[in-house]
Each structure stands twice: as structure tokens, then as C-alpha cells.
């Protein structure tokens, strides 16, 4: 009985501790995972490992670390120029998914930038809308 009360108390504390920001992060992250699975995982793989020199990895990627703005633009517009990731050059063009909204892109970005080795935190729709203006 005592342990039950203890467990219940811990659960209540955890739930009440979750701030509005945490809840928002979860919403972005979970929706991002769904979108990633349908639009990105075919090539970049569910575990983000990519495939040989055809599809670059996302799970560990210096390109992602250094080029957030470009990554956001690529999701919608694609990329035809070579991309160097972790010292390897990938030349296979990637087609963008034109139908992705700023919110979709923010959710996917939040997912890929907080999974595997990445811990960047939430990337909000406002941030995305601002950055997308600089896409070529």
C-alpha cells in the first residue's frame, strides 16, 4: 500500500513538473517522427544511417550540425549540388517534398535534431518561417 502511494506520488510529480515547453517539444517531436517515417526514412533509413554513398547519414552528420538553415530548405526544395558529410561526398540529387508546410519542416527538424546523437532542442515553426526566407 505504501509503495503504491509512493508510485502514485512520483507519477503526479512527474506530470505536474512537465512544463508547457516540454509538452510542446513532445508534440513537435512525435509528429516529426511520423513525418520522418513517411517522407525521409525510405532513403535515410529509420535509424538515420543512410545507405553507402547514395544517401547520406543523419544520425551522425557534421553537415547537419553546421547547416541548420540549409537542411530546412533542402526538405522542401531538394538539393542537386554535391554534399560533403563526415568527409564523404554525396552527389546523388535529392528531390524536395514541395508539399511540406513550415510546421511540418519544424516538426521533422525537431525530430532529426533530437534523435540519435543530436540534442539541439525544439526548432519552432516561427524559427523555420524566418529561416526559410533565405532559401534560394
Amino acid at each position: 500500500m505504501r509503495s503504491l502511494i509512493f508510485v502514485a506520488a512520483v507519477i503526479i510529480i512527474i506530470i505536474s513538473c512537465r512544463s508547457k515547453a516540454d509538452v510542446e517539444f513532445d508534440q513537435y517531436y512525435n509528429q516529426g517522427e511520423i513525418l520522418y517515417t513517411s517522407y525521409c526514412a525510405n532513403c535515410h533509413q529509420k535509424d538515420g544511417s543512410g545507405l553507402a554513398l547514395l544517401y547520406p547519414p543523419l544520425n551522425k552528420s557534421d553537415f547537419m550540425d553546421n547547416n541548420l538553415e540549409q537542411v530546412l530548405c533542402i526538405m522542401r526544395s531538394g538539393k542537386t549540388t554535391p554534399t560533403v558529410v563526415n568527409g564523404k561526398t554525396f552527389v546523388q540529387p535529392m528531390r524536395g517534398v514541395a508539399a511540406l508546410t513550415d510546421l511540418d519542416i519544424a516538426e521533422i527538424a525537431t525530430y532529426i535534431y533530437n534523435t540519435w546523437d543530436h540534442k539541439r532542442g525544439i526548432i519552432t515553426v516561427n524559427e523555420v518561417t524566418g529561416k526559410m526566407k533565405s532559401c534560394e
Binding site: C43, L54, R95
Partner: protein, 201 residues
């Protein structure tokens, strides 16, 4: 009595198991009055990523796995190629096993493009042929020899509908298995079937 039943069950069970180790032969068959004639892959001639002419003779005394794809496809092809790469890696030490990927977009997928694609995938042409050729010949062999759906369809996102099937072909050019090349579990089954087929000799 119970012992007898148990023994009987074991005997029955193990005899069933033995049957399981033979793979089916797909397609229509005929009987010429003496022998059963099985469905086989029709004569073909395509060109691979190294400009080599690839025909049925390329696969003489070889088991091979065939599929249909195109390099610019984003939907099921990347999954298929991920799985076919698994087959390539798993059969690295089996000189009697080869792979054959046909492009269904031969105007776009030229020899040069297929060469780059194979290079980027990190595979060599002595074991994995990526072939291109006359569009109608590729579509015809897909449908009539490999019993695989392939057609152009402008309503599809990338312009084609095609099945993601992998076909397992034996040393007599007969279809011995059909698998969903986008599903890891189905490709596990393919890997097992390749081993079974190799034991047939």
C-alpha cells in the same frame, strides 16, 4: 500406446519438414508427353553498368535474384535497394549467386548513370548487374517472364507503378520464389531460400 503416438507424430512431423526444404516452381507448366515443361525466363539481352552485354548465358549455372526499379524513384526503390544490398552482403562468399536489377526508366537511367549508382552503392558488376535496354523489352520480360507488374503511370508521384518484388531464379532459369523487396522479414525468407536452393546443386 502413448509412446507409439509420439513416435508417429515425430515421424510425420519430420517428413513434413523435409518437404518444406524444396521450393515451389512458379508459373504455368506444360507436359510434352514425356517431361513436365516449366515456366522459364525468356531469352533476353541487356547492357549493364560496365557496358557489358548481359544475357541468359551470364547466369549459366548461377542462382540469381532479379528486381525492377529506377534510380530517381523515392518511394519503394530506396527500400528495395537497401534490402538488395543486404542480399549482396549476405551472399558475398557464394560465387554461384548473382543479382540483376533492371531499370524501368531506361531513357533516364543510362549506362553511365547506372555505373555511378552502383559505385555509390559500393557494389561491383561481377556480382550485381544493373541493366538498361529497350523499354518494351524490359517491360515485356518483367510481365511475361518474371510475372512482375511494371507500367508507366503519370498519376503516380514518380511516374511509374511497379511491384517491389524480388524474384529468385534457379540454375535452370525457373522462378523459385517471390518476395516483397521492401520488407526486411520477407528478405530474411529469401536469404534462407537461397541456401535451400544452393543445396539443390
Amino acid at each position: 500406446m502413448r509412446l507409439l503416438l509420439t513416435v508417429l507424430a515425430i515421424v510425420l512431423f519430420s517428413s513434413c519438414k523435409q518437404k518444406e526444404t524444396t521450393l515451389p516452381i512458379y508459373g504455368n507448366r506444360d507436359f510434352n508427353g514425356k517431361d513436365t515443361l516449366y515456366h522459364t525466363i525468356a531469352p533476353f539481352s541487356f547492357v549493364d553498368q560496365d557496358s557489358a552485354v548481359i544475357t541468359n548465358a551470364t547466369f549459366k549455372d548461377k542462382i540469381y535474384v532479379a528486381d525492377f526499379f529506377f534510380t530517381s524513384c523515392r518511394t519503394i526503390c530506396p527500400k528495395m535497394k537497401t534490402q538488395m544490398k543486404r542480399v549482396y552482403d549476405a551472399t558475398a562468399n557464394d560465387p554461384d549467386v548473382k543479382l540483376l536489377s533492371h531499370t524501368i526508366d531506361p531513357e533516364y537511367d543510362t549506362v553511365g548513370l547506372l555505373h555511378n549508382y552502383a559505385y555509390m552503392l559500393g557494389v561491383t558488376s561481377d556480382r550485381w548487374h544493373f541493366v538498361t535496354g529497350v523499354r518494351d523489352s524490359i517491360y515485356k520480360i518483367a510481365q511475361t517472364s518474371y510475372l512482375s507488374t511494371t507500367s508507366k503511370d503519370s498519376t503516380e508521384p514518380d511516374g511509374y507503378i511497379h511491384s517491389g518484388a524480388f524474384l529468385l531464379i534457379d540454375k535452370h532459369q525457373r522462378i523459385r520464389g517471390k518476395y516483397d523487396g521492401t520488407r526486411e522479414a520477407d528478405v530474411d525468407r529469401l536469404l534462407k531460400d537461397i541456401e535451400t536452393l544452393r543445396k539443390e546443386g
